[in-house]
Amino acid sequence: MDWDAQYELLKAGKAIPQAGPSYTTRNESNIDDDDMRPVLPGRDPGDEPERRRTNLILDEEETVATPLERLTRHWMNERHAPDILPAQEDLLMNLLDHLRRQSEAVQLLREDPSTSEEEHMRIMLVQTEIERVKFIVRSYVRTRLFKIEKYARFITTTPEVQTRLTAAELDHASRHAKITDQHFYVSVLQSLPEKQSHLDDTPLFVPPMITEPDKTRPVFVHALKQCPRIRLPDGATLEMEKGHISLMPYSVVEQLVARGEVELI
């Protein structure tokens, strides 16, 4: 899909298109920034690397602060979790907005014939990062889309799951469920007796017709802080210290994932 189209699609999914703080910043930044460098005014970028304190020595003691780091974590959680996790709409919009601002700045610099050699190196680096971020955003969105299509029927019949989807995702789920239902009906079900022509039977000895996420699927868990005690399937209990790594069924840590006390790795 074309990048701008995807952006518009995601944006359109918002119930109310908010002119959030990021939008205002963008407008200001384009007006104020005379030399159009992809440097963000309005805050001192100087303290960022210090604040991040990413330590390569031994312990990866990063405090997840930047939107990109947060999205990266949500992306990985989403990839590993069997269930659909709560949508990160604000975070995503914030990053999409930032991407657009960076792209626009790059575009302006490119068109400027007076751009120096040094500037070209900078443009190249900014462009490289844009591609990296786009990759993560795309993969995150597609990961959700995959689950949404797989569990479309389950979503349309389960209000609790619906709260974890964006408006656009929910709409996609309904349409996907509808299209597959119609396909099943036209190709098979209409030829069957009325009693057997439904897609939500729960006959005995047979799995339910509506596919649900398998929450017993194991996941690798990394404790981000000292976690409250959890009960394991064999009855034992476990209190994960910060930094602990375990493989266990997703259902055991579902709440910890939701509260951000662990990440899936």
Partner: protein
């Protein structure tokens, strides 16, 4: 071994037949066992596919015997040396010994089901490391030497894997290949 309505594997697994002994005469249903008899007589034995057997057993029309792949003979062989048992021979090509066992386990009485669970779990655990070792061995050999001489016992073990184990074998093999590709693919070469 997934439990999903649309899983083809799950549907195929339920085609495994088990021997049922009927407790009642059932007129006009002789065709169920595939024979030419018109009626089902009391105490007659028939091979019934699992998907049908559920209803028959739960309705108390018939009892079933623990199928041969889980007989005491197999149990003893597994106890002696789990890796030397050819599970694939027990359930036929494409069959899942564990999946079949799990299905049977679910319709057994508590005590028997526990025994069945123990046998399945123990066999799976004792064979697992060998399954993975062999998969990684094959991934390391690469395309050229695959199928070469890696010992008769090893080859026999591989041929004896049931589909559940075969799936694990390919997961491990694919994973090892993927990381090998990554190691061999260098950024420097790209530029």
């Amino acid at each position: 071994m997934d439990y999903d309505y649309f899983s083809v594997e799950a549907i195929l697994a339920e085609n495994q037949k088990i021997q049922c002994t009927f407790k009642h005469a059932i007129p006009g249903m002789g065709h169920l066992g595939g024979g030419s008899e018109r009626d089902i007589a009391v105490l007659s034995k028939m091979q019934i596919p699992i998907w049908l057997a559920y209803t028959i057993i739960y309705s108390d029309w018939a009892e079933f015997n623990i199928p041969q792949p889980f007989s005491s003979r197999v149990r003893n062989a597994l106890r002696a040396d789990a890796c030397s048992v050819r599970l694939s021979n027990l359930v036929g090509a494409g069959g899942s010994w564990y999946g079949f066992g799990k299905t049977i386990m679910d319709i057994l009485s508590d005590e028997q089901a526990n025994e069945m669970s123990q046998m399945l779990t123990k066999a799976f655990r004792e064979r697992l490391v060998d399954v993975i070792d062999q998969a990684q061995h094959f991934a390391a050999l690469g395309q050229a030497n695959a199928g070469g001489t890696s010992g008769n016992a090893a080859q026999s073990f591989r041929e004896g894997l049931d589909t559940t184990e075969r799936e694990l074998f390919s997961l491990a093999q694919e994973s090892a290949k993927q990381i090998k590709r990554w190691y061999e693919d260098s950024d420097r070469a790209k530029h």
